[in-house]
Symmetry: D2
Subunit: 241 residues, 4 copies
Amino acid sequence: MVRVTVWGENVHERTEDHVRERYPDGMHGAIAAGLQRLLGDGVQTRTATLDQPEHGLPQEVIDQTDVLTWWGHIAHEQVQDAIVDRVHAAVLGGMGLLVLHSGHYSKILQRVLGTSCSLRWRNEGERELVWTVNPAHPIAQGVPHPIVIPAQEMYGEHFDIPEPDELVFISSFAGGEVFRSGCCFQRGAGRIFYFSPGDQDYPVYHQPEIQRVLANAVRWATPRVRGPVPEAPNAPRDWFL
Amino acid sequence: MVRVTVWGENVHERTEDHVRERYPDGMHGAIAAGLQRLLGDGVQTRTATLDQPEHGLPQEVIDQTDVLTWWGHIAHEQVQDAIVDRVHAAVLGGMGLLVLHSGHYSKILQRVLGTSCSLRWRNEGERELVWTVNPAHPIAQGVPHPIVIPAQEMYGEHFDIPEPDELVFISSFAGGEVFRSGCCFQRGAGRIFYFSPGDQDYPVYHQPEIQRVLANAVRWATPRVRGPVPEAPNAPRDWFL
Amino acid sequence: MVRVTVWGENVHERTEDHVRERYPDGMHGAIAAGLQRLLGDGVQTRTATLDQPEHGLPQEVIDQTDVLTWWGHIAHEQVQDAIVDRVHAAVLGGMGLLVLHSGHYSKILQRVLGTSCSLRWRNEGERELVWTVNPAHPIAQGVPHPIVIPAQEMYGEHFDIPEPDELVFISSFAGGEVFRSGCCFQRGAGRIFYFSPGDQDYPVYHQPEIQRVLANAVRWATPRVRGPVPEAPNAPRDWFL
Amino acid sequence: MVRVTVWGENVHERTEDHVRERYPDGMHGAIAAGLQRLLGDGVQTRTATLDQPEHGLPQEVIDQTDVLTWWGHIAHEQVQDAIVDRVHAAVLGGMGLLVLHSGHYSKILQRVLGTSCSLRWRNEGERELVWTVNPAHPIAQGVPHPIVIPAQEMYGEHFDIPEPDELVFISSFAGGEVFRSGCCFQRGAGRIFYFSPGDQDYPVYHQPEIQRVLANAVRWATPRVRGPVPEAPNAPRDWFL
């Protein structure tokens, strides 16, 4: 039983009619529903949003979260640093983290990766093809090659991230750009997966193949260990004998 | 002064008129000329071909080669295993190796990478865009983003290689496929760069941007050390004092 | 249920009394027993040895093997190339491979890694400490930090392997040398783990912590997919629509 | 001509007699002198310290710095966040960064790596052996295998860093611990090298082999490109044609 907290900025859904019609339960609601549909009893989901106290992420929620998913876009700066610190500490201690689409510019992704996470973009509803470059990877199991997304925002290279520990997906767009769209990292004991499809202007999170990727990623990012951020202990000679 | 040996299979150039017209000095000749043009006094090139004794690669030539470039296609099986052994030993000892286009299926690349190096392909003269994903990499210096190749054979994922030590270029094709087109590896002391553009049916090696990539790669792959394949010495206690 | 074939060269056990006394069922027997003890119903083991027809590895055995473990030392050259080809193809298709101790010089490890796999060595029964450098890795779960092996052959750097995809363990020896003793690689769809403790002159495979590492590695290397070595298909335009 | 700024916290040197005697010009002075000795006209050094305005690192100094070296220990918290931001931006734009010894806990290293950088330690003047695990790496050229440091503080695993892009050195200590003592990373366009030898209680930076490592690292980290932190441009369709 993996406990997943699906975090959503939930601004576009409240302020733009067409987004609310596409995602009446919010993008976070659609993401949670997809996980439930595919993982069933293997997952327990809850959602949290920016406008809740502590953004819906008090310490006790984080402590009960195995994997946190993160979608944000226009309100990255409104996320309190204290909450980012809390999420960061949990990741180092073992919590899994899935960062989605425009979350590339979230404080938490910049914090764990140490780079600007900048990229090129164009929002003209182009076809995106998501190609698997590591078919044996757990996140690629049961995923078609390629995933065809009829219309999406274009995200293109150069994507300013550290060389991923494992690269799983590369996307191309109708306009010719490419993007490293599925990237694995480890920081401390925590596994991090960045997955780029999912703009609010398109029904990407309703697409079963995308839900499959997220369900696989949740299982992949489930903690093997969970603890505090490690400190730097003094170690007397022969302490291990 | 980097000493480069440009190896060419040299079969298409001898058996197909349109290839000979495109590359009257062979593809190897065009590659060598591009290196000379860009590196000038910094490089000394020679060429070698399959039909020569020992494929033009006797031990003394290998010993005087800092970087070997390799283009082959329809005659991979005619390359003698003893020559592959010789090249392999030189790479482990520090010699640089650039494997080009259809050389993905060469014995030497399969030998150093340990995988099948299989891929998808389609030869319909599609536009290839070569995107830089690591703009600070030495091989990407002075290279436009993207390189536009008007017509090329399509090479697509899944490309069955180990995860590269460094990924420099990703290509997209008009048909939508993507390909990890510029990949760095190290084996023993030798640096290896695989670069996929360069089918015999198109004038790719006459294109200045492609020549720039190859010149950069030659410099990148120049040996820092050169020696025999390491053996496994017995080491008496405190041998290093 | 993971199906494991434990391959043993089985020469020292037959020709040296002290090895036979230490490992009356062979080192392969001790390794298989350790896996059974720790994984119980989760594993089904069989053993195979050099002196059997096809070294105990006919195609039907390989086809029914999820993970193959490999211990060899003085008879690497007696392993038939056809069997190495068979194991190699299975690894590329997804079979897991655990290479142990002196198996560093086996044909199969050299084949998949593409390097000499040379190292320094000294057999004086020194204490080896096996330190975990990635405590969140699946192979490190439940493993003490460090594992103390009272007496072992020293294996020291430089170890001529490609940079591992993941480094899990580093050993130190009483004489001061260090060694990358637990290294993960992927080739094709198959996961490979090299683990260096385990000389025939010491009871290493009877040690519970070592058995834990091997049990973890078996689970880690269990195939996610299994198929033939990929070929290079022609892909008509829009084949994926 | 590489322009190096050697940054020193310069607290131990001012407050502890034995450190001042060992390093009358500060550790930063000794590091700068070593670089000058080995790189001669190829390098131009300056030093900067915590107690200077803006810690000696105003924007114009950073702009004229190709490689910054960083030694800090007991005053990490006194480093202003604005200066850390400035250094971070310069690294992403291409400036090289060498972080030394107790700088593992500096704000700038935590910022670029995204982890706690914690480790085990014991300061009892133990012999440290620094082993090369990638002898072909530029930073290892001319470096003995191993470097013998007669007395040093012990730094041991687990070292909480991301898996390095390249691992160059592993140390062992008389007490048996190991440590990944020479680690390469890239963040944005900048190269980062962490090197652990160098406690203030021992004359490590006077040792020629250590100076050789630092000189090599300076050359390795010299920028290939230099620019601002990349932004995220909107890219109109076919912008590249």
